[in-house]
Each structure stands twice: as C-alpha cells, then as structure tokens.
C-alpha cells in the first residue's frame, strides 16, 4: 500500500519533472549558446499550449496535426524572437538582456490574452481522462505519454549534440563563439538554432502541461520553476537540466502528496508544494553555488 503510494507519487513527479526538464533544457541551451538568460521560457511554453488548443479544440484539427503545428509554430516564434530582438543584443550586459526577456514575457502573455482570452481552457486531447491499469496501479495516459515522449526527446538531443556536425558546432559556439567563427561556423545561424530548439522544447512542454492540467496564461509560471531546475543542474550541461527538472518534479510531488490537507493552527502546509522547488534550489545553491553538476570551468593545463 505504502509502496504503491510512493510509486504513484514518483510517477506523477516524473511526469511534471519531464516538463520542467524540457523547459530547463531550452533555458540552458539558449544561455550557453547566446549568453542570454531567457526569462520568457515559460511564456514560450504557454504559447505552445495555446496554439495546440487553438487547432485541436477551436478548429477541430486532428490531434497529432495540432501538436505538430504547435511545435512548428512555437519553434518559428523562437527563431523570430532571435532575429528581431536578441541578435542585436548578443554581448550586451546581462542586466539589459534579462530586462528585455522579462519585457518579452509580459508581451507574450498580453498578446496571448488578447487573442484567446485569460480564461481557463482545456485541450481536446485523446489522452485526457484515460488511464492504464497495471495490477493495482492506475496511471494517467497523459502523464505516461509525457514521460515516454520526453525520454525519446532527451535521447534524440544527446545523439544530436554528440554525433551530428550541427550539434557539435552548436556546442563549440556555446563555448567560444569567436573561435567557432574562425572555423567557418556562422555564429548568427547557431544562435538562431539555439532559440529555435529552445522554443521547440518549451512548446512540447506546454502541450504536455496542458494535457495534464489546463490551458491558461498563468501556466507560464512553470518557467520560473524550470529555471530553478536548470540552476539546480548547474546551467552547464543538458544532462544537468534534465536531472534538475526531475528533482524539482519529484520533490514537488512528494510535498504535494504528504502536505496537502495538512493544516495546523491556520497554516496550510499544502501550499509548500509550490515553493518546494525554490526551497531546494536555495538549499543546493547555499552548499554548491554552481549547482549540482556545475563546475567553474574545465581544468586547463
């Protein structure tokens, strides 16, 4: 009984963790490649969910096509943001670029609200409400799909960044863009690629999040949690972002399960769920300021 409860908690933690991991992955990728801390990462996630909702629920387009449209348009939005805004800001002070991403985040929320409204909607997904029963355990199909697709995506990313010329070139640009240019890499194109991939994974995460809950402009808050996941993971490697995301998701799930409904003298301990991610981030950073997997720099001889 207790075992099953724990499996259930871990399962739902993993399905949320996968979402944080995807968003965090884009966050780290954009930061490592272009030096910009994108505070609008959660908003890109929200836009992806709204586009999917628009096609699937409002236009009644088949679900798979809606998902593909949302991912493609989300990725294009990322590329567009780079070309219109951040291409000109590479190398500018970080406080300036951070403010621009915060401004962009507000604009994206406002525009989304303008087009689709600020209410709460649900996506017309074939997974919603469906479950898979395994023995005494019941798993939501939407959560299962999130976990499986995320694992596939993570593997694809690892292969892309370690095997493909484009992926390795992107890593090289992230480490030293001047030298990458000297090797014939078009650095601007690489920055655009980083934004495209970063927005793409955020869009995927947004769709998963919509499947597990609802579509509304407030869902962009996921971005802040994903950011703490990325920082927890060290802001260095994509692996760190993934593990950071999973840690945040699972901790949150345990906090939600064991603390919800717990009330003591007017304190609602269930509320801790929403700050659990930040609590562990603060704790970890106090002990390891560079995150769990972060390092100052590769030792040079």
């Amino acid at each position: 009984m207790i075992m099953e409860k724990i499996i259930d908690i871990i399962f739902s933690g993993l399905s949320m963790g996968a979402i944080y991991a995807l968003v965090a992955l884009g966050f780290v990728l954009i930061f490592k490649s272009t030096g910009i801390l994108n505070f609008a990462q959660g908003e890109l996630c929200m836009v992806g969910a709204f586009i999917c909702y628009y096609f699937a629920t409002l236009l009644n387009v088949p679900y798979l096509i809606s998902i593909l449209m949302a991912i493609a348009l989300g990725a294009m939005l990322g590329a567009l943001i780079d070309v219109l805004i951040f291409r000109r800001l590479v190398g500018e002070p970080i406080y300036a670029t951070i403010m621009v991403t915060i401004g962009l985040a507000s604009i994206l929320v406002a525009l989304t609200g303008l087009i689709w409204g600020h209410d709460t909607y649900s996506i017309r997904s074939p997974f919603i409400g469906k479950t898979i029963v395994a023995g005494k355990m019941v798993f939501a199909q939407a959560s299962l799909a999130t976990i499986v697709v995320s694992i596939v995506l993570f593997i694809l990313f690892i292969v892309f960044f370690n095997r493909s010329l484009l992926g390795v070139a992107l890593k090289g640009t992230a480490e030293d863009s001047d030298t990458a240019g000297l090797m014939g890499i078009n650095v601007k194109k690489m920055h655009m690629l980083a934004w495209t991939i970063g927005a793409l994974v955020a869009g995927v995460a947004g769709i998963f999040l919509a499947e597990q809950s609802f579509v509304h402009t407030g869902m962009s808050h996921t971005g802040i949690k994903a950011m703490s996941a990325a920082i927890l993971g060290g802001m260095e490697s994509l692996g760190g972002a993934i593990i950071g995301g999973i840690i945040v998701g699972v901790v949150e799930s345990f906090a939600a399960s064991y603390l919800s409904g717990l009330e003591m003298g007017g304190f609602h301990f269930g509320d801790i769920k929403d700050v659990a991610a930040f609590a562990i981030m603060i704790l970890v950073l106090m002990i390891r300021p560079h995150g769990i997997f972060g390092k100052k720099e590769v030792e040079r001889v």
Binding site: G91, L165, V168, A169, K171, G172, E175, D176, S177, D178, T179, A180, G181, L182, M183, G184, I185, N186, V187, E297, V298, E299, R300, V301
Partner: protein, 264 residues
C-alpha cells in the same frame, strides 16, 4: 594569393593599431610576420579573418585581397569558405569538447563531408599523439598538445592558406622545435601556404621563405629569410646576436631596445 595593401585599422574608433601595412603571401610559401608584443601581428590576421565586431576592430583604409577577391567586409565564416583558416593566438581549442569533436568543428567548412575521414588520417599522420586520445576532453591536453590540436583543427579543413598566430607562445623550447618542424613538413609535403606570425624570430626565420618585420603598426623591413637573418639590425634586435655571433648580454639588449625606440 593573399595581398594586403595599405591596411589601416582602429580599435574602438581611436587606437590606430595598423598604420598602413602591405603584405603579400605567394602560394606554397611560408611567410613570417615578426614583431615584438603589441606590434600589430594579431590585429593583422584578425583583420584578414574578418574578426572585427566582437573586438571593436575596424578597417579604415586599404584592402585585403585573396585570389583576386576583396575580403574587407566579409564575416569570419565567409573568410573560411574562401579557404583561409586561422590557428589563433593562445590556441583557443574547445576545452570542453573532445579532440574528435574539435577536429569535427575544424572540418566544418568542408564542402564534401566524404573528405573528412581522409583529411583526419592525414592530420593524425602529422600529430599521431592526437589519434590515440580522440575521445579525451581537449582541455586536459598539455600546452604543446593543445597547440598541435589547434594546428590539426585548421589543417583538417584542407585550406588554401593557414595563418598561425604565435604557435611558440608559452611552450618549452623542445616542443617549439618539434612543432616548427611539423609546420615545415606541412608546407613542404603538402605545398601548404602558411602565414606565420611570431615573436620568436629565430625559429620563424629558420622555416620561412620570406619575412616582414612589424613595429608599432608599420612594416619596417621585409625580405627573404636569408636576407633578414643576415641583416645587422635584425641580428641584434630580434635574434639577440651580436657582431661576433654570440648571444648578447641582457644589458646590451636593453641598450638596443632603447635605440630601437628611437629608430622607430
């Protein structure tokens, strides 16, 4: 092949780093640019490579011409597609990537990916030590090995012209000997055209065909290596040799440095 004419550049719109220099590199030759720290050597090859925006460098006057095409306004990656690769000062290998990945990026500009494997084998032939450690992070290589990787990374693209910025920098004399011998072999065996920037005039003139002496952003002397090696001033100022052929004492060198400033 490469023809730089009256090149004048500024940093941040004010500091005049090159005051109208002219340099020519003929095919299949090693041409050396020699000069003390701050003479403008790195500025010269960065201008050729198109590295401008990120270091606030601007070409004010003159032309950079390669195979008949003016390259003044090209981006770094466009310069590379023309066949000019740089081995930057301080090596600048990708420390967080493996040796294999460094070479992969070096060959980024290859039009025909099918040539990557053969080029890699050719490079490993010059630097066998790299072939044994392809999966290691480049950051863990020793200084000399990093310099070898930096040269290999340019060579693997099979360029028309390689520009090397102080390959001897910070390396022990034995390693410098070894690396310069490889540079000489690359030129000799592969007819590779090389523009070699050096403070170490002694080593550079031993393998170069032709040389330029740069001082304060100006070419103050040029000629065949043989001629430069025999020039009295160069023997004194850059090779540290006195009339009698022996090494000059530190005090005498200092004395000549004072005179050099007056000369320029």
């Amino acid at each position: 092949m490469l023809k730089v004419t009256n090149l004048e550049t500024t940093y941040n719109d004010i500091i005049l780093a090159l005051k109208g220099i002219s340099i020519e590199v003929s095919p299949e030759k090693i041409v050396a640019i020699l000069g003390a720290n701050g003479a403008g050597k790195t500025t010269t090859i960065n201008a050729i490579s198109g590295i401008r925006k990120t270091i606030n460098l601007e070409v004010e006057d003159g032309t950079i011409e390669f195979d008949g095409e003016i390259l003044n306004d090209k981006e770094p990656y466009e310069i590379v597609t023309r066949g000019i690769l740089q081995v930057p000062e301080g090596r600048r290998i990708f420390a967080e990537l493996t040796i294999a990945e460094n070479l992969m990026i070096g060959a980024y500009s290859l039009q025909n990916r099918g040539h990557f494997q053969t080029n890699k084998e050719m490079v490993f032939n010059y630097f066998p030590i790299l072939s044994e450690r392809t999966r290691q992070l480049a950051g863990y290589l020793s200084g000399g090995e990093q310099q070898m990787l930096a040269i290999a990374r340019a060579l693997v693209a099979n360029p028309k012209l390689i520009m090397m910025d102080e390959p001897s920098l910070g390396l022990a004399p034995m390693i410098v000997q070894e690396i310069f011998e490889i540079i000489r072999r690359i030129n000799h065996e592969r007819d590779m055209t090389i523009l070699l920037v050096e403070q170490n005039a002694h080593m550079a003139l031993a393998i170069a065909h032709y040389g330029y002496i740069l001082e304060n952003g100006r070419v103050v002397m040029e000629g065949s290596s043989k001629k430069l090696r025999q020039d009295k001033d160069i023997r004194e100022f850059y090779l540290g040799l006195s009339e009698s052929g022996g090494r000059k004492s530190f005090r005498e060198v200092k004395h000549y440095k004072r005179r050099k400033r007056w000369l320029s």
